[in-house]
Subunit: 122 residues, 2 copies
């Protein structure tokens, strides 16, 4: 038996981001470009841009800032709050994953047949 | 901003139970009857019975045992493994909830506007 979980951030009952959007932001930060991040993740630029705008509207603050060259050609960076959001989410998720693995063993180990461990949900 | 989460149990990539099914099992245990538990939860007996059978098939062990009187009229109890499953899940969930509330404050508090806390996902 395995425990699965899913986490996401909300504000005013609207989803801001879960794993997928946080990964997009992290990739933008690594590659310095929305275009390159979108390509790497198999998204169209338009779709990635739409995701960012929706996240920012729902979060209530700017997450990505584009640099000179325009939205298509220029570079992109995370804002200070965007970086805190991504880092906070990833640190939170790592800690949660460790906690869940340990607690699951404590509560379930040896009590049922075929206990196999823990994995993150889809 | 709030963090939301959802947990569920799986075996062999099939969902055994999340909050809804665990609550059904807990209610059966409290009321000693599938019929009464189903009524309380606004489910048909047939639907509740189907949920139990699916859970047992996927978990690989009996979770509910019915007592004399037949499936419709008789009482119902959780098996020993069924009790461990429900108690383990609930204890796990309570600990997780506390952990998430604390960690979320640590990682996010004061970093963004309108931080409101933590809530369990739908």
């Amino acid at each position: 038996m395995e425990i699965r979980y899913k986490i996401w951030l909300e504000r005013k009952r609207e989803v801001i981001a879960g794993n997928g959007k946080i990964n997009l932001l992290k990739t933008i930060d690594e590659l310095g470009s929305i275009q390159k991040a979108a390509e790497k993740m198999g998204l169209s630029y338009r779709h990635a841009w739409g995701m960012i705008q929706k996240m920012e509207r729902r979060a209530g603050f700017k997450i990505v800032k584009t640099t000179i060259g325009g939205k298509e050609g220029g570079g992109a960076l995370l804002t200070s709050q965007g970086e805190k959001l991504v880092q906070g989410y990833l640190t939170f998720r790592d800690n949660l994953d460790k906690f869940i693995k340990n607690k699951f063993k404590q509560e379930f180990k040896g009590k049922f047949k075929k206990l196999r461990g823990v994995g993150e949900g889809k």
